[in-house]
Amino acid sequence: MSEKNQSDLAAMEKTEEPDLDRGMVEAWAAKMISNPDRAYRATFYVATIFFLVTTLFPFYWLLMVALTPRSDLSSVGVLTPGGFNPGAFIEIFTRLPFHRYIFNSFLIAVVATVIVLFVASLAGYVFGRLRFRAKNVLLLGVLVTSFFPPAAFFVPLNRLFNQNIDILRPLMQDGSLYNTPYAIFIPLSALYLPLSIFILMTFYSQIPDGLEDAARVEGTTRLGALFRIIVPLSAPGVATAGVLTFITVYNEYFFSSLMTDGRPQSWAPMLEGILRFQGEFEVLFNLMAAASIVAVLPVAILVIVAQEKIVSGLTAGAVKE
């Protein structure tokens, strides 16, 4: 194709502008015009490289900072560390129980993701597959709640969670939810629910009715059909909603820092742990950097695993109506 275009171009040059001596830019522009694919490819690479550099370079620098001994922090180069001290990656666990912070965040994120996927599956099924009155109004309501800034919910929720509620007394020591994981994942699940509802709604609505009918005739209830047939067939959508929720909750700071007192045994999250390396008299930048890198690992692992699921879900899907 490009050959043909080039010969076309050559022919054009010969007949129309035989003697024009083009500059480099002009020649380049002419090439792009005659073969737009080149232009698209070039733009694609430029955009991708720009994106990768802006996202990955800070990460690289974080590694450089983490490897630099604390005393040499001022001499961190642009591309090289100011020394070599991998001990920082161990120190973060000895100086503070940082693993506990990661565990807290991980557990909260897992629980929130499970809750969100479950509730959003039910809601997505109803919105995506059933016809009923006031559906659009309800859907709009769900959408509107997701527009509120989280801060709008904070004061009432904080007061609620700090209150001693009698019915919780047998479950919680003092009957209040403050300093428990519940105070974090309940509001966070609610906050990130609308997005998942919308994602799952679109996916579930695309599963042919026949499959659900077949499952129901074969012996499932509607709920059974949802979890045995519709959810597995929407694996890519479920994985997407799950990963998005997990990452946002795992990285969440606002609610998690305000609903606990910051101690690891009070279920303070990972970000709180990183900030704990910031003492009154000195900021342990290298430890903060090391902790940040370690904190990324669970998410990275999850995304790699989920990506496999997404790919397998896409190939196994092949729904034929």
């Binding site: 009918d213 499952a215 129901r216 005739v217 074969e218 012996g219 499932t220 209830t221 034929k320």
Partner: protein, 339 residues
């Protein structure tokens, strides 16, 4: 095995009545076919029997049980769907055994039954395949195996052969008939293809506009249609209608006069508003006063040739251009090109 009884079934959607006051008794072990033009309510009727939609009014009995409010899984039915509806994420074995596994059968019992069902539809050695790796006919056979493996009391088949090519359709048709003989189960079959309805069923139920028109054995529907709709719908090419009058000892119209006893045997002749050329089955008669036709379409099918024409209103009845009175089948004007 069970009979199925529909009592005054009515299904209304917001502003449409899909099924209107339907009463139908389906006998034990019967192969009954619902036929009718698309959108006539036959699929809706089947869905109400399956329990996939609930009727607005009326009751459904399967055997001696009132199943009107039971969910599909508790009705003792199984269904083959038009779009086959195999679960794409399960292999053949998992698809067939799905219902058994849900009902917590022993592994041994499941294996035995799956093997048996696969045997009936000749699917041996394909247990590991995924639906997308199979041809349309194979998938259809898996769907049928999935339906028979639970040994249901009633089989529902919603246009199961609609998506197959012509050769396979004929093949599967005989397979289904063989299946019916072997299993001796009540089969309710929905189709808009009257060739299937005529060849396979013990009785056919003709439905139009959500209303049951006639329930009778195929040939009875063909020879003695209960009304004009059934007369026009059953049979290919479609029956022609000639307006005329029933007079003493016969029928008189612009085009022909036929002598017969209006009391017996063919009830259709007694209809004051028309007569059908299905009369030719019983006794061939010429339209001696002729009909001038403009032939709009002519085709050969099997050993017959059909000419579809439009009556030329400007010309008076008379002989056609070759001097014959018009005698070939003439499609009704509103049916041009439809059948």
């Amino acid at each position: 095995m069970a009979s199925v009884t529909l009592q005054e079934i009515t299904k209304q959607y917001e502003d449409v009545t899909a099924v209107d006051d339907m009463n139908l008794e389906i006998r034990d072990g019967e192969f009954i076919t619902f036929v009718g033009p698309s959108g006539c309510g036959k699929s809706t009727t089947m869905e109400t029997i399956a329990g996939l939609t609930l009727p607005t009014e009326g009751a459904i009995n399967i055997g001696d049980r009132d199943v009107t409010d039971l969910p599909p899984k508790d009705r003792g039915i199984s269904m083959v769907f038009q779009n086959i509806a195999l679960f794409p994420h399960m292999d053949v074995y998992e698809n067939i055994s799905f219902g058994l596994r849900l009902r917590k059968y022993d592994q041994e019992e499941i294996d035995r039954r799956v093997e048996e069902a696969a045997d009936v539809v000749q699917l041996e050695g394909m247990m590991e395949r995924m639906p997308k790796e199979m041809s349309g006919g194979q998938r259809q056979r898996v769907a049928i195996a999935r339906a028979i493996v639970r040994e249901p009391e009633v089989f529902l088949m919603d246009e199961p052969l609609a998506n197959l090519d012509a050769e396979l359709r004929v093949h599967m048709r005989t397979q289904l008939q063989r299946l019916h003989r072997e299993l001796d189960t009540t089969i309710i079959y929905v189709t808009h293809d009257q060739a299937q309805a005529m060849t396979m069923s013990d009785r056919i139920a003709v439905i139009n506009g959500g209303v049951l028109q006639q329930v009778a054995p195929p040939l009875e529907c063909y020879n003695e249609p209960a009304n004009l709709f059934v007369a026009g719908f059953i049979g290919s090419p479609a029956m022609n209608f000639i307006e005329g009058e029933v007079i003493d000892g016969g029928f008189d119209s612009q085009y022909a006069q036929i002598d017969f006893d209006p009391v017996e045997p063919a009830k259709v002749f007694r209809k004051p508003f028309g007569i059908a050329d299905r009369l030719r089955i019983l006794r061939e008669f010429p339209l001696e006063r002729g009909i001038q036709l403009r032939v709009v379409n002519s085709r050969r099918q099997d050993h017959q040739s059909h000419r579809h024409g439009r009556r030329d209103a400007s010309k008076q009845p008379g002989l056609d251009e070759r001097g014959h009175p018009g005698r070939f089948p003439v499609a009704r004007e509103k049916d041009q090109g439809d059948r």
